[in-house]
Symmetry: C2
Subunit: 679 residues, 2 copies
């Protein structure tokens, strides 16, 4: 039996006997307990805070006496005076073992913290970033042993952190000598080791102990918008999220028009590349300002995007992506330096990582969704749908995952819609239409009241009511269908057919008037027949893609559906199903994953193993190409209708009833309405 005191760590449960005088940090390291330290046990970084437990621990059969640890010492007192130490806490590098003791490692002292994600269904992110801080004490140079400063720094890294093989680029090497001298041979370094790297890459260096932290950007580079999360690379916390329009829109709203622009204009691809890189730089600078951090502390960025954006970001001509066989220049993950993409707002040595693409039409954004939603880990068959300007669709379970991309166009984002607009204050985002009166009520972004509630006019006086955003148009079309203003073919009835003056003639077709602000100089907001057609095309593409994967898999239903992207955040599931955007599924089996692509980027930013994981995952996914599959066209044509009782949507019937109306453009009477049978 070991006569040395027993040290038990919680929550890990790891335990061992250590000689009297062993620092708790040392004991933790020897047992492989996850206890953080940047300064390597010198009592200056305070990362190794622990909470000793005293008294009876019947579970462990242990009584911990008040003198189980060494006395509070001067280093701890100094730290407490300077920054304050939570009561009951000790510094693990200062407190030494004197007797049997139970030591709790609080979450903030763990290196591999679990970052809880908002979506309860999804896994937590384990913090294990590629870039970390290390505090070092470097030997001074000696004329009799004339190694370079970099070699002595490497030696300190080996001796103090057991880290081998260092790589240092010229810009950091140029700062090495003055920084070492300024810090009196004590420095903090940021070391990056990518998942495939053999070497540790020295990305930055600060004199003394650097306490400003380190940050990374998870960037979801969409065709229309660029969204970024600024993540603390130590805690995993998202400090700020921000977005910016993709300036490439001026070269073409959708991807294919941008590819055309590159094909038709010599140097056009370079123009678009420069535009998007500048926008990312601007976004990075803005987000750092908003978070109040020095932008040079942004030391990593992870990008997810579709293949065309992927190529345009990298400066690769996307022309091959515009024609069969849609060959990517590279499909694997790409690791780069900030300077490779001319990014200057963030740390010039920052390392960038682009997730792999799945295929020429299924990009790194879809890969990110796969990383976030893990269809390949699912016991039941799950359909994951991410709607942006393109829809990324994944179908699978533990046995096999299939993926495709469907060209929905930007209608779901409010573009190509007569009164459409981006999701911004003043945009109609929710609509309800009374099936009896055919009167609408709605809500606009920036106001929590419905339009028929008291105070709505006052509350929206500032922003006005400016248009309909993506979620608004989807609800509007679905509500029109439910209210019998629209027949199953997608035709809007005339005032005579619908019995409401909100059905207004526009040329040879009809429109539905949601809001007329012209009296106050505002817009007249309608849903036109053209809008309905745009939504029909978009939803047919989306639906056809999902059906194609189901055909490939040989199934005619899925067990559950995960809605990602704009869907989860803003689009009502019920209305999406009324429109027939997604296959039929019980409502309680349809969940929202929020911005899953962005989450995938964040996972890859915070956890280095996830980068290897997604590379493997992507290789294993079965790629289905919608553009060459005749069945896609077939499904597309068949999906054009907005479901009625004749459609094979048994589950939808339990959710909502649809009127069985039919309008003719040449006039005629309104179709009859009848309740559909449930079940």
């Amino acid at each position: 039996m070991n006569s040395d005191p027993l040290v038990i760590f919680t929550p890990s449960g790891k335990r061992g006997h250590f000689p009297v005088g062993t620092p708790i940090l040392t004991a933790a390291r020897q047992l492989g307990v996850d206890l953080d330290s940047v300064c390597g046990g010198r009592g200056i970084c305070s990362k190794c805070q622990i909470t000793p437990g005293y008294g009876e621990f019947p579970k462990h059969g242990l009584t911990v006496s008040a003198d189980a640890l060494s006395e509070w010492n001067a280093v701890e007192q100094r730290y407490d005076d300077k920054r304050g130490l939570t009561k009951g806490r000790r510094l693990g590098c200062q407190a030494t073992v004197q007797g049997d003791v139970v030591i709790d490692v609080p979450p903030e002292s763990q290196v591999h913290k679990q970052v809880v994600r908002k979506a309860a269904t999804a896994r937590a992110i384990k913090m294990d970033p590629a870039t970390r801080l290390y505090y070092l004490e470097v030997e001074e140079p000696d004329m009799h042993e004339p190694t370079g400063d970099l070699e002595r720094l490497a030696r300190a890294l080996k001796a103090q952190w057991e880290i081998d093989s260092l790589r240092c680029d010229l810009p950091i090497l140029a700062r090495l000598q003055p920084t070492l001298r300024k810090g009196k041979w004590k420095v903090t370094v940021a070391l990056h080791k990518g998942h495939n790297d053999k070497e540790n890459h020295l990305l930055d260096i600060w004199p003394g102990l650097h306490e400003g932290g380190l940050f990374g950007l998870a960037i979801d580079l969409g065709s229309t918008t660029i969204a970024a999360h600024l993540c603390d690379l130590v805690t995993g916390e998202v400090r700020t999220s921000s977005g910016i329009m993709n300036p490439q829109i001026r070269f073409g709203e959708d991807l294919m028009s941008r590819v055309s622009y590159a094909m038709m204009n010599p140097g056009g691809d370079k123009e678009m590349t420069n535009a998007v890189r500048e926008a990312i730089d601007t976004l990075a600078a803005d987000i750092a300002k908003e978070a109040g951090i020095d932008p040079s502390l942004i030391i990593e960025a992870v990008f997810v995007c579709n293949p065309v954006m992927h190529h345009l970001l990298l400066g690769l001509d996307p022309v091959e992506l515009g024609q069969a066989p849609f060959a990517l220049a590279t499909s694997e993950a790409v690791s780069l330096d900030a300077r490779d993409l001319d990014l200057s707002a963030i740390n010039p040595s920052a390392r960038l990582f682009l997730l792999p693409c799945i295929a020429g039409h299924v990009g790194a954004d879809a890969a990110a969704v796969a990383l976030s939603e893990q269809p390949g880990q699912s016991e039941d068959l799950v359909l994951v749908v991410d709607v942006g300007t393109n829809a990324e669709i994944l179908l699978g379970d533990k046995t096999r995952v299939l993926a495709c991309s469907s060209p929905t166009g930007p209608a779901f984002e409010g573009a190509q819609i007569s009164s459409g607009q981006r999701a911004a204050a003043g945009a109609i985002e929710r609509i309800e239409i009374d099936p009896d009166t055919k009167e609408p009520r709605f809500r606009v972004i920036g106001c929590n009241l419905w339009s028929d509630e008291d105070g709505f006019a006052r509350a929206t006086a500032q922003t006005g009511i400016t248009g309909i955003c993506g979620s608004g148009i989807i609800e509007a079309v679905a509500e029109m269908r439910i209210a019998g203003l629209l027949d199953a073919s997608g035709l809007i009835g005339s005032a005579a057919q619908t019995g409401t003056l909100r059905s207004v003639a526009e040329g040879r077709t009809n429109a539905y008037l949601i809001h007329d602000g012209t009296a106050d100089g505002g817009p007249r907001i309608t849903v036109t027949q053209g809008d309905i057609r745009a939504i029909q095309l978009a939803k047919s593409a989306l639906y056809a893609g999902a059906r194609l994967l189901m055909d490939e898999r040989g199934v005619d239903h899925v067990d559950r559906i995960v809605l990602a992207g704009a869907f989860g955040a803003h689009i009502s599931t019920k209305h999406a199903m009324v429109l027939g955007m997604i296959p039929d599924a019980p409502l309680d089996k349809v969940t929202s994953a929020g911005n899953a692509a962005g989450t995938g980027a964040r996972i890859a930013l915070c956890n280095i193993a996830a980068r290897s994981e997604i590379e493997t995952m992507v290789r294993d996914i079965t790629k289905v190409e919608t553009a060459i599959e005749p069945k896609f066209q077939e499904h597309f044509v068949n999906a054009s209708a907005i479901p009625n009782s004749a459609d094979p949507f048994p589950i939808l019937n339990s959710v909502v009833t649809l009127p069985d109306v039919s309008f003719n453009t040449g006039g005629g009477e309104a179709g009859g309405r009848r309740r559909r049978r449930r079940g």
Copy 2:
């Protein structure tokens, strides 16, 4: 006994039995015979030419019949028609084994060719460059298997060349797709694998078979001049050598004044960095033009230089090198991209390699000399001296090598000399002084005649006689000493003391008139007392450095001396020994190595193993710091005299006799002359 035909390769002597129909190239590969191929046996690169031997081979006990190889085929005929195949040669990939045969691999078909160096004493360079060409046939993309073009190229590399793990930077990735399509999926790639690299780095790509070759630059970056050799990376041949002045001279003639410039002028180091990088770019462009090659075919460059130039080239502030303890930012070898040094004349993806520095005062140039001259492989004790603006000195044998650097200043290069000039047409480079008449005769650069030979005036009319270069001043001082115009302390005698009117008074001291061209508007060329002092300081520094190493090693003589740099090329060994520049050694044990630093650079360029070798070698060298060693000062002061009979130079006495003169500045009679005893 194997019934398959026997194939014997010469000169390797490797042999084996192969089934009828085996291509010779295949047989060679299986036996590990060094037979080149870029196209991988497709009959298009012609690198695998072999010469079959027919008839009796008694040495091998073999009779080779005329049908031992398959018949000359259409591929060979096409190649012969197009480019011509030397008579008797076959293509190793086309000719197949039909019977016992002896195959000679001519030197130009060997991958690891031996490049014979001019200096007979030194080893040959084995061709094994870091960058090579490979011809590939890449699978076309397929929509049903949507890997990227890069991944398919990597797959071809694995299948056709057994090369794994490829790395590709963005600029090449951007050219990948058009090049693959232009070459109809057949391309040649240049792959680089550095001695410490795990990955193969794709540096360039050409459609089809690239036949333009690949080149590298070996650059000796001196304080005063920058010299470059353009080497064929396939044959090892030096295509062109060229040089350019180091434009940093305008910031300071010697290294310390450049360090001072950097210290005194904010941004001064950047100015000097930009100047030297631009000069290298210019030199590279010029040398490519001179050789008639596309500069983008220069895919590698190796640099050797002293520590200050090393830092200034890399953009590192050299300030620490100007003060004890002379800490280098990095002492190890440095691998870079061309863009890291803003080099734009050569291939933008070119890889650069800087040899390691030995110490803060002993640079990569000394390391290159060690690589070229291999003192650590020497059975006897060798002193290697490389004179530039600094002298690099190595002393050693198999047991141990020591190194130091000595601040000789630029006097040996003709700088800081009253009539001094760079070695250029019109400069006096050789001088003899008649000991009886005290009359000089000399030769100038650009003319093979001595000044007292017929036609000299006519031959030099164009260039004139403009000054004295480094080798000229050394000969002049030594000849003045031999002729009794100079005493052992270095004092020039007056006309009265020396008995010649060529001794002219200049202020309180005397000068020796070599040439007076004033009548024709030319200069009056003298050696002044100040010139003598400058040479004395320089040679004392050099001598003291060598002595210091000898002290460290505990010896008072060396077995042999290797003179490198300007020494070997231009400075007369005899005169150097008269001056006491180098320790005493038998003249037949003093050899010249030419530009050993440049040769070291060329070795590291052509042979990748040499890069690891020099890294190990540098670690094992004992560094001796002249600046802090009190004995250096002592040796320096003692070495000031120009040897006379009292000096401990027994061997010198067998070479030349020195007059035992002594002059006083205050006038007095000329010292007597007597012959020194031999032996």
